[in-house]
């Protein structure tokens, strides 16, 4: 047998190439497989929802469990507070005080009749959503509200957070 002279590619280099290509192929596919697990399309409920005419809401609060929000109606107007605990996402519950309590908000002292309590790890939030106790790191968000042009229903946009003092003016 005649020894063929290796011109360009030595045996060793060839296998290095093959090895590198295999690694790349496997690594690339591993990335594809992982990436495929992050969905690009979500078939989930929309974030902007009609919750009913203003007059169906009682004075005080109403819990809309399907949307995981509390809708409040007071003299100053309406506002919506998320019920999803900012710690790990359990639903907070309203715990009424037997007697109104004076609570300091900055320099202001306000009288409050309830607070939000999370059953999972005991976070507590003031009536305006401010976290003051337990592991929750941030306040409960307030969501944007508006009145639908077509039928006058209240619309809550869970995609848009608003200031805790924002209110939607409605005729009582």
């Amino acid at each position: 047998m005649t020894e063929e002279k290796t011109t360009g590619l030595s045996r060793r280099r060839f296998f290095k190439w093959v090895g590198g290509a295999s690694l790349l192929a496997i690594g690339g596919q591993a990335f594809f497989f992982l990436r495929s697990c992050i969905p690009n399309v979500l078939y989930e409920p929309v974030k902007r929802i009609k919750v009913g005419l203003p007059n169906v809401f009682p004075q005080g609060h109403k819990f809309l469990s399907a949307f995981r929000i509390f809708v409040f109606k007071e003299e100053k107007g309406m506002h919506t507070v998320s019920c999803v605990c900012t710690h790990l996402g359990c639903n907070v519950q309203i715990s009424e005080f037997s007697q109104p309590r004076k609570v300091k908000h900055g320099d202001e002292e306000v009288e409050e009749t309830f607070e939000f309590v999370c059953p999972c790890h005991g976070s507590k939030f003031r009536a305006d959503g401010t976290n003051y106790c337990g592991p929750a790191p941030t306040p409960l968000p307030h969501y944007k509200m508006e009145i639908a042009q077509d039928d006058g229903q209240v619309v809550v946009d869970k995609g848009e957070e608003v200031d805790k003092n924002a209110r939607l003016k409605v005729e009582a």
Partner: protein, 436 residues
């Protein structure tokens, strides 16, 4: 030699010598898993408590019962809970299947953990004095097995889609999401969306029934193969030391040629057979008999517990209201305690306890565990014996960590009432106003 019926039916031949008996073990398809001879010491109950074997037996029980349960369970949001109820109340012996699976899962968490403690207290993660073997690596493999065990039990209790499952999914997903930068992506990949729905259930189902068990099986095989390559259980090192062998690498005692066709390339089987013959006994029947006993004992205890303990499902998953208090299964309560206690604010920056208690602290613990064999500089004479004096310091540190975990579990289990408020076990919980 009088032989029993099984032997007469299954064997055509009886060993004439010790050497033939050795060969018989190696030649048998089932027995060749074992070394042909073992030392009495490594079979001793008081050395290993056979906890690794018990874990493996529990894994087999779990695989079999789990496979049958797969015939009865439907991983869909609508059908999961009702199919679990059917298993409990409509399927013949369904309650038994589920009970055995559930009990074995909990026992496995216990036995794997105790096995790790055993390995630590006997210093059995130490490299043997010779060149052979790499027990530290097997310790690391063990830790991955422990993580897999925990991951399997977590994904397992998500499947019934009761309240426990639903809120455990929410919390698990949000702990993942608390990782800086990539958290939201991990969450998306884990539950396939932003809310707990069909995607999440299907993913956890595939993880629980296919991916994790397969991974576990491969790693368990590697774990056991390593034990052999590490020169047997660590207590064998003591035997070698007693015989004044500073280097445990024995001369190879057997040479097999590759299929008998090649000459020159030999596979050396290294068995520390320099040891005196009286230390070594045939693994069949000595090991096999004990293995049967341990397996039967494990099965008996699992079955008895499955009959006596009930595992009622919680209410069906209710996305509108978490149970109060919402407690994780006992072996995760220490993590729940950590998650609940570790949110802190420093210089105006608030770090979520989910990240600190759910990711950072467990990771530190894990890194430390992995590093343990590499940090331990005590001499090899401490390998394979219980509580050697020289390792007092290590043992104390390890014990303190274990005790803290156990204490956290106890606080979570017995001292947490509604809204995770601390109550002594003898204190009455207040009536809960259920009010929205």
């Amino acid at each position: 030699m009088k032989s029993g019926i099984a032997k007469r039916l299954l064997w055509s031949w009886r060993p004439e010598s010790q050497r033939e008996a050795n060969d018989a073990i190696v030649k048998n398809m089932l027995l060749h898993w074992f070394p042909s001879t073992v030392t009495k010491r490594s079979l001793s109950f008081s050395y290993s408590f056979w906890l690794g074997t018990i874990s493996a037996v529990l894994f087999v029980i779990l695989s079999i019962t789990g496979l049958i349960l797969m015939f009865h369970y439907t991983p869909s949001m609508e059908r999961a809970y009702p199919s679990m109820k059917d298993i409990d109340f409509a399927t013949s012996y369904g309650w038994f299947l589920r009970g055995v699976h559930r009990v074995a899962a909990q026992l496995m968490v216990v036995s794997v953990f105790l096995h790790m403690m055993r390995v630590f207290y006997t210093g059995a993660y130490k490299k043997s004095p010779g060149k052979m073997g790499n027990r530290p690596r097997n310790w690391v493999v063990g830790i991955i097995l422990l993580l897999l065990t925990l991951a399997l039990s977590y994904t397992g209790y998500l499947l019934p889609m009761d309240q426990l499952a639903y809120w455990a999914m929410i919390i698990g997903a949000n702990v993942a999401a608390s990782v800086p930068f990539v958290g939201e992506h991990i969450k998306l990949a884990l539950i396939g969306g932003t809310i707990i729905d069909q995607n999440a259930l299907l993913r956890f189902y595939v993880l629980h029934c296919a991916l994790l068990p397969i991974f576990m099986l491969v790693l368990m095989a590697y774990h056991m193969w390593r034990i052999r390559k590490d020169g047997g259980l660590a207590c064998m090192d003591q035997v070698s030391l007693q015989h004044g062998m500073t280097d445990a690498v024995p001369a190879s005692t057997k040479t097999y040629s590759l299929l008998g066709i090649t000459s020159g390339i030999d596979i050396k089987v290294q068995a520390p057979s320099q040891m005196e013959e009286e230390d070594r006994i045939l693994s069949s029947p000595n090991l096999v008999r004990r293995l049967w006993l341990v397996s039967l004992g494990t099965m008996a205890i699992t079955i008895l517990l499955a009959i006596y303990i009930q595992f009622p499902l919680e209410a069906p998953a209710d996305p509108t209201m978490a149970p109060n208090p919402a407690k994780a299964p006992w072996y995760f309560l220490w993590l729940q305690e950590l998650i609940a206690d570790t949110t802190f604010t420093l210089a105006g920056m608030t770090v979520n306890g989910a990240f600190l208690g759910g990711i950072v602290i467990p990771s530190i613990l894990l890194v430390w565990l992995v590093a343990v064999p590499y940090l331990d500089r005590t001499s090899a004479a401490n390998c394979g014996i219980w509580f050697p004096r020289e390792r007092l310091k290590q043992n104390i540190v390890f014990t303190v960590v274990i005790l803290v975990i156990v204490a956290l579990i106890c606080v979570g289990a017995f001292c947490r009432g509604p809204s995770w408020v601390f109550y002594w076990p003898w204190e009455q919980w207040p009536e809960l106003p259920v009010n929205f």
